[in-house]
């Protein structure tokens, strides 16, 4: 309780120390534990709720209160929002929005269904997922697959304005939620598998007018990096930090999209996000003019930018010269934790590359980088010695370097697989335990790069890969773990049959919730991961668990609807090449457990 009170107090301090800053409405609304107004729960992305009515003792009694079919079959990521007495539910393409009346067991108050060109469907790599709405100032912000950003009146569902952020004909699409901050809405873009040049863009929250755009790659004036003031690993980035790290004009189709989550720190007015892989997946085609690896900045990076201007304060590239498709887009969780005996304003990030990073969120200083799955083998670790020329860089293990093995050759047994030790499914942080609760994949791969040519709006991949459960382990394809970000150590790990592709929720009831690909909603003890409750929902869960309170009763809600990248790779089951030619069957196929269908399940105590 002591820690909990402290966390509450500091939140109030942050809000009152910067009057007029941040989005006051988002801060105030997200501080009410009975609501859920951003996908990430709050600006800090902690996914922690102060609600404690459902706790370790009574969670076993949890019952379904009501359900809702979305009418859409594709993969359902993200979660509903709750603002006052209204729940807002989104769907994947065609991106329907429902406003449901909590006072009348989910009666539909309004429904918004945009008209979108179906040609956007196949340019969305890996299913037409959508990670959901955001609420601010009486407005629901909806970012469609075809990159149309719409402001909807929260009461009526009427359009206030809309604006188009990208061009699906070039492979630009949207899957991410947006960040309402101050008077702006900050949005990202998808499409690194189509050679899209990634960017984040801010629109005026009241009118939809574009305020600024910051590319991931290109000239300083377009990436909004100041050569002298933007810092990386304690040093100014210098002139042309991106251009210098590419061969010729490859950066123009270089990927580095921003399709993950945003977090925001009102104290420094910085927002944080990660950038995706460089295009193509064939590293040989991206080598430097001398034929050696070249960084390809600022793909695979954590970037901190000023929310007003978009100017970068600091950046840290996690996987320079990617050779495995380890996008850096996963969520940045802001938490004040103890690192090496010191209280730090930390940013914690669980990367696709299998490393859990802890940085100082104000300066970008790298504090901890540790493997959050023991099978991670592509790197021997990150150099932490500040005097080393390799400071901050992961050391690549030759055997697992798809670049060193070479084009048209198969690099075997790389862990993790391209879907990462963790993909977008967000982790949660509990200030009660100071632990991070992380849904993970436990999958490895063979990877063979080869030459491809670029055609606008067509896939630009250039590698064949086969995935299989991490060898020599428990045989499952996932784990749900607790992570100590101060020490870079796994506190406990709970094996799962399939990748855990659902966002976690931690609560003041001492519980952590997550969903599984077979469709179970599970509640475990924050201390040791002991399973206290499970219920099989209508379809596999790739959505994120949320909680709210209505008429004094705490509810837990989650979207089912299998799909996404997990559904593509795992539906038919994986093969393990080490089992011999084409052996299948030892590894479960998801299609033996669940089928398509979007449904919301809401739980409460009887």
């Amino acid at each position: 309780m002591h820690k909990y009170a402290l966390a509450g107090a500091s939140l109030v301090l942050i809000a009152s120390a910067t009057p007029g800053a941040a989005n006051q409405d988002v801060l105030q609304q997200s501080a009410k534990p009975e609501q859920w107004v951003l996908q990430t729960g709050d600006y800090a992305n902690q996914r922690y709720s102060k609600l404690d009515q459902i706790n370790r003792d009574n969670v076993k009694n949890l019952k379904v209160a009501w359900t809702f079919s979305t009418g859409v079959l594709r993969g359902h990521e993200g979660s509903p929002l709750v603002v006052g007495n209204i729940m807002y539910v989104h769907t994947p393409f065609p991106n329907i929005v429902y406003a449901l009346d909590l006072n009348e067991e989910g009666k539909i108050l309004w429904k918004y269904e945009p008209k979108q060109d179906p040609s956007v469907i196949p340019v969305m790599c890996c299913d037409t997922v959508y990670r959901g709405l955001a609420y601010a100032d009486g407005t629901v912000y909806h970012h469609q697959a075809d990159t149309t950003l719409v402001a909807l009146d929260a009461k009526t569902g009427k359009e206030k304005w809309k604006v188009v952020n990208g061009d699906p004909k070039k492979g630009e699409t949207n899957t991410a939620t947006v960040l309402p901050v101050k008077d702006k809405i900050i949005v990202g873009i998808s499409g690194a598998e189509f050679g899209v040049r990634g960017h984040v863009t801010a629109y005026d929250a009241a009118t939809g007018r574009r305020a600024w755009r910051a590319y991931t790659l290109g000239p300083d004036s377009e990436i909004l990096f100041d050569p002298d003031k933007t810092m990386s690993l304690g040093k100014p980035v210098g002139k042309d930090s991106s251009l210098k790290s590419w061969t010729g004009e490859q950066w123009k189709i270089g990927g580095g999209t921003a399709w993950g989550w945003f977090s925001y720190d009102p104290e420094t007015n910085l927002f944080f996000y990660g950038t995706a892989n460089p295009s193509t997946w064939n590293p040989v085609q991206r080598a430097g003019p001398d034929g050696k690896p070249i960084d390809q900045k600022w793909t695979m990076a954590i970037i901190a930018r000023d929310a007003d201007t978009g100017m970068a304060k600091w950046a840290y590239q996690m996987t320079p010269f990617d050779e495995w498709d380890y996008d850096g887009v996963n969520e940045m969780i802001l938490a004040d934790i103890t690192v090496a005996g010191q209280r730090r304003k930390a940013l914690v990030h669980f990367d696709r590359n299998g490393l859990g990073y802890t940085l100082d969120r104000t300066t970008g200083e790298l504090l901890v980088a540790g493997k959050f799955d023991p099978t991670v083998n592509w790197t021997s670790g990150v150099v932490m010695d500040k005097s080393s020329p390799q400071y901050g860089r992961p050391q690549v293990v030759k055997e697992y370097s798809t670049f060193q093995t070479g084009q048209d050759k198969n690099t075997k047994g790389v862990c993790p697989a391209a879907l990462g030790t963790k993909d977008q499914q967000p982790a949660a942080f509990s200030p009660r335990t100071n632990l991070f609760y992380v849904p993970t994949n436990h999958v490895c791969m063979d990877y063979e790069p080869f030459r491809v040519s670029y055609t606008a709006g067509q896939p630009y991949v250039g590698a064949t890969l086969s995935m299989f459960p991490a060898p020599g382990s428990h045989g499952g394809m996932g784990n749900f773990i607790a992570w100590d970000a101060g020490q870079g150590k796994i506190a406990w790990s709970k094996p799962e049959k399939f990748s855990v592709w659902s966002g976690a929720l931690a609560t003041a009831g001492g519980l952590v919730f997550y969903g599984t690909l077979e469709g179970y909603l599970k509640a475990v003890d924050e201390k040791d991961g002991r399973e206290l409750f499970k219920f099989k929902t209508p379809s596999g869960i790739i959505g994120n668990v949320m909680t709210y309170s209505h008429n004094g009763k705490q509810h837990v809600a989650v979207l089912s609807g299998v799909g996404g990248w997990a559904g593509i790779g795992l539906a038919a089951g994986l093969t393990n090449p080490t089992d011999g030619l084409g052996a299948v069957g030892g590894y479960a196929g998801l299609r033996d457990y669940t089928a398509l269908g979007g449904a919301l399940t809401v739980f409460t105590l009887p």
Binding site: L73, R74, I121, W281, G462, T464, G582
Partner: protein, 173 residues
Amino acid sequence: MGLLVKRAGFALASVAAIGLLSNLPAGGQAAKKEKDGKWETADGTPTYNIGSDGTVDWYTFSGFRRYHSECHTCHGPDGEGSTYAPGLIESMKTQSYADFMLVVASGREVIRADKQSKMPALGDNANVMCYIDDIYVYLKARADGVLPRGRPAKREEKPAAAEKHEKACFGEK
């Protein structure tokens, strides 16, 4: 068997050879011939060749690679389908080479109340179209049940003709 089929191919068209082939276990298609490492049926449709030790011809292997770069992000690993797009094993049992080419090049759309799916037109995608026969024979081998899931363990070397075709297709010298 590979050698036998090859010889039969060169001997060409002989009824005896066809008779011989039809007695072979799964893996051989009736009456096919080989030119520069590429196999085709009597009517000129590209096809696969799999030796008794599981060695696949280059084009089938190449099809495996290209499929898992260009197609599997929708149609799933090994043509098995996904939650996103249908499997191809069943449809390739009956789909003709001409229909296959048409759907890949021009795309296909199903827009109903309960289902919105769209196969993109890949006609101007060199990474697909330069290897379209390769992808076809790979999927045909999967559909015919003669090629197990996963990466083919053994393959023939890349023929000079494949190298030449690739360069010409990408407009290189």
